[in-house]
């Protein structure tokens, strides 16, 4: 099956309008070179034109530069402003007028020393202090309540500083970065085949998505196209992972309402998927399945067997879903809880079920289709109620959609056979973005390779981008809603902190 390169929907006058020069780049990336002074102006124009902020980073190749990535009309617009050699990178901050950029800019200032003019200071973002108890809201009986980083349950380390009068939550501060392990530094000097093990462990629950985004970045940087058969298996692994992640969120919501049987039922379904993945790949998290260039080996479950398993799974799922949605004690806690207006979600450039639960139809599989998703018909599910229930409903609908995609991919796999991996050039160099839609949202990874070894990796994780929105998710919610709202975001601290 041959696929013509998709035409860009961006207007031809865009580079001129932004004061930029177009540079060649891999498909889906519109690389524009701007002057350091023009970077802020060009970003502002993209903001006005409705682009979605993705990330900012310091690139080392082909020359040191500030790089901004923005999603716009099915393309990734990449602005590149070269940094004069020997000078500290600097630019005009986007944060004052684009909330989505604030966390990224602070991290860039702390890590890479790129301090923009007009930075919105977020002190302590990347160096959290669990004992600091600042209080911004003053009032009778208002106090600060630190929640985390040692959580009351088996959850990842993150801290929420709640300012509350006991019931109403007046202000929430999210303190992330307790888990920063320096994985982006760790991959420097590794061969792509080794570095993918690190990428898979950035967020363990989304190992396939992270491994895949990294592999696609490497493939695009080196100009390698993975075989179609490998892309089908990749889609199978990725969709099974999405099902497991979504079921985890739903099971946690049931657990939080003390709906014991409901929790048990969804935990059973999740465990079934984990066991299926162990049979497919040898790892319960699908680790090692995706490699740069393709997939590691023939999956160990035949497509027919997989289809039969999925049929049985879907029968169980649809019954449990019906019960879940008709249990008033469950739905009452979610409806109207943690409301995120669409305008806010847009301003923070949120992604994944958080965005789709507020009516935005952002999905990397649809916006910039990759791999097998170029061939599969994909229906984007959005719900407009903007609350925690809406985000759960998005997940329920995506479970059905994932099962449909899995069936389609299995049908293709059954009929065809072919190569599983395309060899990478031994000493290739290049740089590119790779992206996937992880269960948490759009994940974008920047990879640079020099003489066949990884020289830089930067991760724009969905969890990092969505956490920034978390403190706005309590418009009129009470203390006990925290767990529901946190689970409805369904994020992973490991992915955010890297």
């Amino acid at each position: 099956m041959s696929l013509a390169a998709r035409q860009s929907e961006l207007p031809d006058y865009l580079p001129e309008h932004l004061g930029a020069t177009r540079e060649p780049g891999p498909p889906g990336e519109v690389r524009l070179r701007v002057s350091p002074l023009g970077f802020g102006r060009a970003s502002q124009m993209l903001h006005r034109a409705g682009a979605r902020f993705v990330t900012l980073l310091i690139a080392g190749a082909p020359e040191p530069a500030i790089v901004g990535a923005f999603a716009m009309r099915g393309d990734l617009v990449v602005l590149r402003a070269p940094v004069a050699s020997g000078q500290q990178p600097t630019y005009t901050a986007l944060g004052p007028w684009w909330a989505a950029a604030q966390w990224t800019e602070q991290e860039l200032a702390d890590r890479d020393g790129a301090r923009p003019v007009g930075l919105v200071e977020l002190p302590g973002l990347t160096r959290p202090d669990a004992d600091a108890l600042e209080q911004c809201v003053m009032g009778l009986d208002v106090f600060s309540l630190p929640f985390g980083p040692v959580r009351s349950g088996v959850f990842e380390a993150i801290q929420f500083l709640l300012e509350t009068g006991g019931e109403d939550v007046t202000r929430v501060t999210t303190r992330s970065f307790f888990k920063h392990r320096g994985l982006e530094q760790r991959v420097i000097g590794m061969a792509p085949g080794e570095a993918v093990h690190v990428a898979e462990r950035i967020a363990g629950i989304s190992s396939v998505a992270y491994g895949l985004a990294f592999s696609q970045a490497v493939e695009r940087a080196l100009g390698v196209t993975p075989p179609a058969h490998a892309e089908r298996w990749r889609a199978v692994h990725a969709e099974l992972e999405r099902i497991a992640c979504h079921l985890d969120v739903i099971a946690k919501q049931a657990e939080t309402t003390a709906l014991a049987v409901g929790h048990a039922r969804f935990a059973i379904l999740k465990e079934q998927i984990m066991r299926l993945r162990a049979r497919l790949t040898g790892s319960r998290f699908g680790r090692g399945a995706v490699v740069p260039g393709g997939v590691r080996e023939q999956a160990r479950v035949a497509p027919d067997e997989l289809l039969a398993e999925l049929d049985a799974f879907e029968r169980d799922l649809s019954r449990d879903r019906r019960l879940f949605l008709s249990t008033a004690s469950m739905t009452d806690r979610l409806i109207g809880t943690g409301r995120l207006p669409r305008s806010l979600v847009e301003e923070y450039s949120a992604v994944g079920p958080v965005a789709r639960g507020s009516g935005l139809s952002t999905d990397a599989r649809h916006e910039r289709p990759y791999g097998e998703y170029r061939r599969l018909g994909l229906q984007i599910v959005t719900h407009r109620e903007e609350d925690a229930m809406s985000r759960v409903m998005v997940r329920f609908s995506e479970l059905t959609e994932s099962l449909r995609i899995l069936r389609q991919a299995c049908e293709h796999l059954r009929r065809a056979n072919g190569e599983l991996v395309a060899p990478l050039p031994a000493v290739g160099s290049g740089c590119a973005f790779g992206w996937v839609e992880a269960a948490q949202g759009e994940l974008v990874i920047w990879a640079e390779l020099t003489n066949g070894l990884v020289s830089r990796m930067r991760v724009a994780s969905p969890s990092f981008r969505n956490w920034a929105l978390f403190e706005h998710a309590f418009p009129k919610d009470v203390l006990t809603d925290l767990a529901f709202i946190e689970h409805s975001f369904g994020l992973t601290a490991a992915g955010a902190d890297r």
Partner: protein, 258 residues
């Protein structure tokens, strides 16, 4: 609401009988790596492991440290006659040295700390478990949570999850110990009443794994606190964590299946 009850009952019994009967993993499961042939190797073999788990001594004898192994399988592909995934879930051991397999001279590790059962007989059937994340990749948390699902139902063995460290007998620690989590780990351990046990869950917690001694990381839990039971794995499956809990509680003997 009532409709859930028949829904729950209809499933029948799915709970594992572990540890009474062994739980078998699926075919070709990536269990702990075994050293099949430990003789006559060259030093270059060491470089195939991204976490430095493989060591070759001057006489060409090969050993593999499961406490560092992330089960990436690189060695099983480069030297399939020497290394292979074993077909089982259990990985836990009560000393760090016991995780090193292959041809290796074990120094006398000294006695491991006494198990909870040896310290307090009364704890045998009511053990309260607390968890702390010190920088895991998030997968270990999923596998610990899975212990409370109906497939594993760890409460049948007398393990309960508690929200307060002051009520806990066992601390499950995951992750490499990042700089900001070091103090919370020490404080959580300090406020737990005696007798208590510390379990390092996951390869990151056992040795640091891929991120050992990085810019912001330590080299596992035992670089900070003495560990009672190590459960390597990236991540260890629920049965392996259960095995570790039983070892810490003194309800199982270790080493029997190595």
């Amino acid at each position: 609401m009532l409709a859930w009850i028949p829904r729950g009952l209809a499933k029948g019994r799915i709970t594992t009988r572990y540890p009474r009967t062994r739980e078998a993993p699926p075919d070709r499961y990536h269990g702990p790596v075994a050293v099949l042939d430990s003789t006559g190797a060259g030093r270059e073999l060491e470089s195939c492991c991204p976490t430095g788990a493989i060591a070759v001594d001057e006489r060409g004898r090969v050993s593999l440290d499961r406490g560092r192994c992330i089960a990436c399988g690189e060695c099983t592909r480069i030297a399939p006659h020497r290394f292979a995934f074993t077909h089982r879930y259990e990985t836990a051991a009560r000393t760090r040295q016991a995780l090193v397999v292959g041809d290796v001279d074990h120094d006398d590790p000294g006695p491991a700390r006494r198990t909870l059962a040896e310290q307090a007989r009364a704890l045998r059937r009511s053990i309260h478990v607390r968890h702390i994340d010190t920088g895991s990749d998030g997968a270990e948390e999923w596998e610990i949570q899975a212990l409370w699902n109906p497939y594993y139902d760890i409460q049948r063995l007398g393990f309960f999850l508690t929200a307060a460290p002051r009520h806990a007998d066992v601390l499950l620690a995951t992750g490499v110990v990042t700089a900001p989590m070091r103090a919370p780990l020490e404080r959580t351990w300090a406020v737990m009443p005696e007798p208590k046990a510390l379990i390092a869950v996951g390869t990151d917690a056992c040795s640091g794994g891929l991120t050992a001694d990085g810019e912001a990381t330590s080299a596992g839990i035992d670089a900070v606190l003495p560990v009672d039971v190590y459960v390597p794995g990236s991540p260890p499956p629920p049965i392996a964590i259960l095995h570790g809990l039983l070892l810490a509680a003194g309800l199982l003997r270790d080493g029997s299946d190595r």
